[in-house]
């Protein structure tokens, strides 16, 4: 008797457990503080404005709705709870910032209106300046890519060669350390004297800023390749070219990436600074130009765009790095 009742009862409990599990899973996924913040952000848009100028709160509303829809779609799609939490936390931060920003500017006017435009106005300006921003992004990224890729293409083979011929390598290490220690920005005046256009000066400075760390990274990578790895290649009787590019290069790839990463970071700092000094285009120019005219809405637009561009490029860089080093655990 006992056994029978058990066998009948068991699946019922199971179903109940399952459905309660699904319910808690559903709650965990869709009932979060972030959505409450969204509601608050929308509601405060309907408070009366304290500013005499237009606040474009409809832009803020549409932006928030867009982000919210995106968040809900991703909540349904992202499988791992940890990555969902990460994403939702970032969105919550954005909402929190927008709430504070809206209240401090448009709704209570506690910040100086001339210096702090409300978020809706920044979004409106962003959309209005879309074309101009895109051209400036293109100009900046074009210069970075040209200088950066040129430096990588020259520095990696040279580093492989210098690192490999060990005796040369030790002298080359000190030379590259000395030349690499000079902050590349101080080359700008000399570059201006040497080169015809602002663009070529920028490419030159970015080239130098990337060249030294990549060269140093490649050389130290090559010199730290384990002897056992080289021996296993030697006993396979590999040729010089194969040894260099199929063995030494992948074996030192991790250190090369450290140099590339450093070069990328410095390149951005340099380019945006250089653009603020003497350019007629680029993101640094956009920010500097409009802040000179007291147009702080566009200045903020520029700051946000620079942030987005750098995050985007670092993301792509990390993806490439992860892919090329996928054989490491």
């Amino acid at each position: 008797m006992n056994i029978q009742t058990k066998t009948i009862a068991a699946p019922e409990i199971d179903i109940e457990k399952k459905s309660s599990k699904i319910r808690t899973e559903f709650f965990r996924r869709y009932f979060r503080v972030v959505h409450a913040l969204f509601a608050v952000l929308i509601l405060i848009q309907f408070l009366p404005d304290q500013l005499t100028t237009e606040t474009y709160s409809s832009y803020a509303i549409w932006f928030a709705v867009g982000v919210e829809v995106f968040t809900l779609v991703l909540s349904a799609l992202i499988k791992k709870p940890a990555s969902l939490n990460l994403f939702v936390d970032i969105v919550a931060f954005i909402y929190g910032l927008l709430i504070a920003w809206t209240l401090a500017t448009a709704k209570f006017n506690v910040l100086k209106a001339a210096l702090f435009p409300p978020p809706g106005k920044v979004l409106w300006q962003f959309i209005g300046d879309y074309d101009k921003i895109l051209t400036n992004i293109q100009s900046s990224i074009g210069i970075i890519l040209q200088g950066y890729l040129l430096a990588i293409v020259v520095a990696i083979p040279l580093g492989l060669f210098l690192g490999w011929s060990a005796r040369l390598g030790s002298a080359a290490t000190y030379i590259s350390k000395f030349l690499g220690a000079i902050p590349p920005i101080v080359y700008i005046p000399y570059g201006i004297a040497l080169l015809p256009t602002f663009r070529s000066v920028s490419v030159f400075v970015i080239f130098l800023a990337t060249f030294w760390p990549v060269l140093a990274g490649t050389m130290s990578g090559v010199m730290n390749v384990e002897k056992k790895t080289i021996d296993s290649a030697k006993v396979l009787n590999v040729g010089r070219f194969t040894m260099m590019f199929s063995v030494i290069l992948p074996a030192s790839l991790q250190q090369i990436f450290i140099g590339c990463n450093q070069g990328l970071t410095v390149s951005f700092v340099l380019l945006t600074s250089a653009e603020m000094i003497g350019a007629q285009s680029g993101l640094g120019y956009y920010i500097k130009n409009y802040s000179d005219f007291g147009d702080y809405t566009r200045t903020i637009v520029g700051l946000i765009v620079v942030g987005i561009v750098i995050v985007f490029i670092s993301f792509i860089f990390n993806r490439i790095q992860k892919f090329l080093l996928r054989w490491k655990q």
Binding site: K234, V235, L236, N237, W327
Partner: protein, 268 residues
């Protein structure tokens, strides 16, 4: 003419202004198709000897002849399996084997190389793991890949430097049997030089055992292994002959060590 002739090999190392002799007047020869184990306690120079055979190091005096020609460097007539790091960690198992094939066979197309690689990975029982990176494989699996690569390169000579030294006892016996099976079934049989410090491994695998002694490293004895092939480990270890032979070898091994350190404490 023997396949490999080692003539009066002497190797001196200088390290921090101190020189020491790793090998002194080492001479012996290896016939074509012979499986020879070099055995000895650590520091007897057996790995140094192998590195000269590989062509990575060169001797201070003496020479090694392969087919009558002196060894001057690495060559595509010799395949090598090390204890560690034989494989390139950035290549999959398949790519590692195909890379080895490419170095000895420049005319084979990419597809042919991969096909041959798959064939040999299957022989060592790793066809399902061919797209894994070495870091995703166990130590035993990595050595299987290394063996597959050395065999796929189809060199006359196979040099193995304690290839199973870092592998647990169970997998070690499995790998020994696999190696023996692959070697015995190949025609013509490859000439193998196998460095080990494991006496049972040496007896089970070899035709001849070269026992070395340390400080300086020299050949202590050359012993023919008197057991017929194909060998079956379980049957072999139960025979009286095997145990007698093994005890004799052990006695030699220990008497050498004891005489070296004056009959006091023996540390292996």
């Amino acid at each position: 003419m023997s396949k490999i002739e080692i003539n009066n090999l002497t190797v001196n190392y200088t390290e921090k202004k101190k020189s020491f002799t790793a090998l002194k007047n080492v001479s012996f020869s290896i016939e074509e198709g012979e499986f020879v184990s070099v055995i000895g306690s650590s520091g007897c120079g057996k790995s140094t000897l192998l590195s000269i055979l590989e062509g990575i190091n060169s001797p201070t005096e003496g020479e090694i002849l392969i087919n009558g020609e002196p060894v001057t460097g690495t060559g595509s007539d010799r395949g090598v399996v090390f204890q560690h790091y034989s494989l390139f960690p950035w290549m999959t198992a398949r790519k590692n084997v195909a890379f080895g094939i490419k170095q000895v066979n420049k005319t084979a197309s990419r597809a042919e190389r991969y096909q041959l690689a798959d064939e040999f990975l299957q022989k060592v029982g790793l066809e399902q793991f061919k797209n894994k990176y070495p870091s995703q494989l166990s130590g035993g699996m990595q050595q299987r890949v290394a063996i597959a690569r050395a065999l796929a390169m189809d060199t006359d000579i196979l040099l193995m430097d304690e290839p199973f030294g870092a592998i647990d006892a169970k997998n070690r016996t499995i790998l020994q049997e696999l190696l023996l099976e692959l070697w015995e079934n190949a025609t013509p049989r490859k000439t193998v030089v196998f460095v080990t410090h494991d006496i049972d491994e040496a007896i089970f695998l070899s035709d001849k055992i070269v026992m070395m002694t340390a400080n300086p490293g020299r050949v202590y004895r050359e012993i023919k292994v008197p057991f017929d092939r194909p060998r079956n480990r379980i049957e072999l270890v139960q025979t009286k002959e095997y145990n007698k032979f093994r005890n004799e070898l052990l006695a030699m091994f220990y008497s050498d060590i004891v005489s070296k350190i004056g009959g006091e404490e023996v540390v292996l």
